[in-house]
Point group: C2
Chain length 580, copies 2
């Protein structure tokens, strides 16, 4: 009994620490070795437990939960390859700066590296992809050891929510017996809680003043907002843009397209605009200030890379290094919203400029061209699905966007609005894996939630759908099914017909209605745009898993996208001709 | 064009090296960055390409292929989290000593750690879980660089097939454009191939003589064979057992139960026998010689741990350290079959002993008790499914066994025979992940193939089923569906009813018929043993994916197993009473 008492005291202290540090959601995968932590977590009334059988899906489910709640989430699994299944989600969390507390049960030291069952080398299992790793001591009795456990739980959260945020990994060796003592209540508070106060990075006022002075004199400035989801940032950056008279090129994941304070700065069709060679030639900003991660737009990235004499400023509150173009001239480590506020406070009057006017006019022209092309199209194709969805989304809804084509279509077709729609995606490593689970994790906190996803990505994480059934989550999945790897049609590989279908097209020929039925979901196959509209309108009030499939054709998608972009370029060229 | 010529020459040399080193099967997941290697591999007429969309399944598919063919298999994926999805299979391959050549495409150096899309830190991505890692140079022209690439392909295979075998990881940075030149044929041989000759570990003859001399004098010796699948070993160890007069306790994965040269040494019901306390008390071997990995039987492991004055010899041709009991008295690094042959050659006459006779009699008694209990049972339960299957398996067939309960049932109910049935499982880390894919990889080389698997393990790797459809593989899956984590019912956790179903039972309530339909498979639900028999008999000639589901009940399974073991113990106790 001594053993079980020690186990209970030590781990109850750890769980108490997690709760004190703000953990509310825990995603657990079934297993034996993890029993003591699993039972104590289940017994703590302040923790919500989400069981998830497939650890890969569990990892991404936790990621989505943390993303939506903007809070750290804990993960727990047993020893062995179970823990290795978290790796993709850990890598994504590291790159997209999502705080995950990864807890893995392990066999005790005497059973490591000796061929014991379910024992793998879990020390530094996630390599450089976690902010912090520690191999915990075996549970031992005594207040000192309990203090250590409680403190390390809080520390784990501190490391995960520091700069930049990210995953941490704590490995717990446990000896048998594994059952803790749940009666009497093991969570009797023994010491004052350890609190975390995380500071933010701020520039000294002299630096702010100097930048404000310099930047006010610049006519041709651009603010670029990539993926960023910090509360308050939208308003702050729009305020700064107004003061500086700069357009904001707003990625769909910048949360700026849908929190438009004023219509006068946000540009959302720059991806289409910058496909015009004339635009690239004529629009030469002197200054770009970038917030957030790299935007999805490739034309924008190419545009930046080819600019000369550019002042290129990257502002990063997480103090990372996210600049693959090697064009930066200033790296500013500062909280983004505070930076905008402090800077704006130094500028007394808002500026209007010809440069801004031109961008706004091009934005209207590009979107008109896109609309004129899209509206009459009857063809079932992916771009139009996102185009239509954008018009139908209810206020306060959330869109989770798959990688590969959906995020690019979102970039093209999701235009600025005041509906307060939150847009999320896994843009750390841009993987097609784990997207279903991430969206379902987000669905715990966000509703109504729409997931826009391609068939390969849907296939990759089909196991994730179980969470919808087990946890009674509401999700509407817009499944863009071109039966294979649609994005590859856009690449030069498509010109090599010999191996194209084998290596890239990879048609699966699967009827996903079966999968949806298995998970007790509702399935609707769309045959025309009227049907799509009805399905989306119905979806808003639908409970549970709802899959709306749009069968599309890879070749036609490609053709239609190309034609549309040509039209936009033509219109933009005409406009710029007149401006000259 | 210079770039593409250099790319082609460098990578054609690499692919040539792989082929020279014996690679025949390559498992590729679709992606853009991996294009140059994927296309060159597809263009090489000596390589068979298996596309697999989900990299986790791809990794396990390659593992199964390598296991069945006893040859190294190459894996290729694109950059990003795709590569992280291989991790569970890499870990399993490392522990179960399966040679995998993991090739990951990467972004070039200037796009690493700077927030570039699809770029993660792939350097040492698999940590200590690979035998060798190298970050390859960027493709460059010239014979010297081609020689390096070709040599490193061969070296990769050497490292993967050395002692002990295992996975290796080569990371390839590629710059765009990514398309190699396939015309003219890029594989014009330029240099004599680099060959690998792998030696085996042998003991000096003096050591062999000394051991033979000592061991001949021992009456109470045991040979324990855990999982091992080396050609020729079965015959050699049986020959040695005959000379020494020792019983062979043969794990179902030792390949000894089905390659019985003589009925007189192989004991297969020791797991049941050693559940009797009387047996544990009375049977005190002086010497145990173990070959292969740790056997699945827990009673055997406990038996060994509690013996005193035991000479415990571990023979390992891979020179590893697989001894979690810390009871070994001699670690012998030697090829297992040669060790047996050399030792047997030193012993002139075969020995018969009372000890051996007693083990053989107990073996018959235990199996009679098992049969007497199982034959009349009408209940659909897991043990009986394996018991019946064992009787129905056609000669020369292969059984892939899932972890958790199926492998334990296989241990209890798959008895010795002369049908040359090959038994495989993933017993490196004993994970329930990747089992479907591993079995399908094995099905490329083995047929007819039967996979015995529980529902959670089936669920975990359901995506693996796509390989059956895409590659037209034949597999018969015996799905033991107790709707959740059946094995946990055997653990002390089952006595904590409050959290048991939440944390361990984890019923999914899924009807897997939908999944089977999605993959165009045949599905049969079994309602009685007659139906099961018919389904298995039909399965033998079935093409494609065939799933035979047996719905079972966790509580009844537990009860039935316990009752059966009690009966066996009773019979064994009676026998030992008489012997005393």
């Amino acid at each position: 009994m001594k053993h079980q008492e020690a186990l209970t005291q030590y781990l109850a202290a750890f769980v108490t620490g997690l709760v004190h540090a703000g953990i509310k959601d825990v995603v657990i995968s079934p297993g034996s070795r993890s029993t003591p932590l699993a039972m104590l977590m289940a017994a703590h009334t302040d923790l919500r437990i989400y069981m998830n059988i497939d650890e890969r899906s569990a990892g991404f489910f936790a990621l989505g939960l943390a993303k939506a709640s903007r809070k750290p989430v804990a993960l727990l699994c047993t020893s062995g390859t179970a823990a290795a299944n978290y790796y993709p989600a850990v890598v994504e969390a590291s790159l997209s700066r999502i705080p995950l507390i990864v807890l893995t049960a392990d066999r005790p030291h005497e059973l490591r590296n000796v061929g014991a069952p379910q024992a793998i080398d879990q020390i530094h299992l996630y390599g450089h992809h976690v902010r912090w790793f520690t191999d915990m001591a075996l549970p031992e009795e005594g207040r000192a050891q309990a203090n250590y456990a409680e403190t390390f739980a809080v520390r784990a959260v501190k490391e995960a929510t520091g700069l930049p945020k990210g995953p941490v990994h704590l490995n717990f060796p446990f000896r048998e017996p594994l059952i803790p003592i749940l009666n009497p209540n093991p969570f009797s508070q023994q010491r004052p809680p350890l609190l975390i106060e995380n500071g933010r990075l701020l520039l000294p006022i002299e630096s702010i003043k100097k930048l404000a002075e310099e930047w006010q004199t610049i006519e041709k400035g651009l603010i670029v907002c990539g993926p960023i989801d910090e509360l308050g940032f939208s308003e702050s950056v729009q305020n700064l843009a107004e003061k500086l008279g700069f357009p904001i090129l707003a990625d769909p994941l910048s949360q700026l397209r849908s929190n438009v304070v004023t219509d006068n700065h946000v540009i959302d069709s720059y991806d289409a605009i910058l496909k015009s060679e004339k635009a690239v030639e004529q629009l030469k900003p002197e200054l770009i200030i970038r917030f957030g991660d790299m935007p999805v737009s490739k034309p924008l990235s190419l545009f930046v890379k080819n600019l000369q004499d550019l002042q290129y400023v990257i502002v990063d509150g997480g103090a990372g290094w996210r600049e693959p173009n090697h064009m930066a001239t200033t790296m500013i480590n500062s909280d983004e919203a505070i930076f905008c506020d402090d800077l704006a406070a130094q500028i007394l009057e808002s500026k209007k400029s010809k440069w801004l006017k031109m961008w706004l006019e091009m934005d209207v022209i590009a979107k008109d061209a896109i609309s004129t092309y899209m509206v009459p199209s009857e063809e079932l194709e992916e771009g139009k699905a996102v185009f239509e969805l954008a018009k139908l989304l209810p206020e306060e809804s959330t869109v989770f966007v798959g990688n590969s084509m959906p995020i690019r279509d979102m970039d093209t077709f999701f235009h600025k609005n005041k509906s307060n729609i939150r847009v999320m995606a896994n843009r750390g490593a841009n993987g097609i894996d784990g997207v279903v689970s991430s969206a379902l994790g987000a669905a715990v906190h966000e509703r109504p939630l729409f997931l826009v996803i391609g068939d390969l990505s849907f296939f990759h994480d089909m196991n994730g759908l179980l969470a919808a059934k087990l946890h009674k989550l509401n999700i509407n999945i817009i499944l863009l099914n071109n039966d294979g790897g649609g994005i590859f049609s856009y690449l030069p590989q498509a010109k090599e017909p010999k191996y194209f279908e084998l290596l890239y097209g990879t048609p699966t020929g699967l009827n996903y209605e079966h999968a949806v039925q298995m998970y007790h979901g509702q399935y609707t196959k769309v045959f025309d745009w009227e049907g799509f509209k009805l399905a989306i309108l119905e979806a808003v009030s639908h409970e549970g898993l709802n899959v709306i499939e749009i069968p599309t054709d890879r070749a036609k998608n490609l053709e239609s996208h190309r034609e549309m972009w040509q039209r936009v370029s033509r219109e933009i060229n005409n406009y710029l001709q007149d401006v000259e």
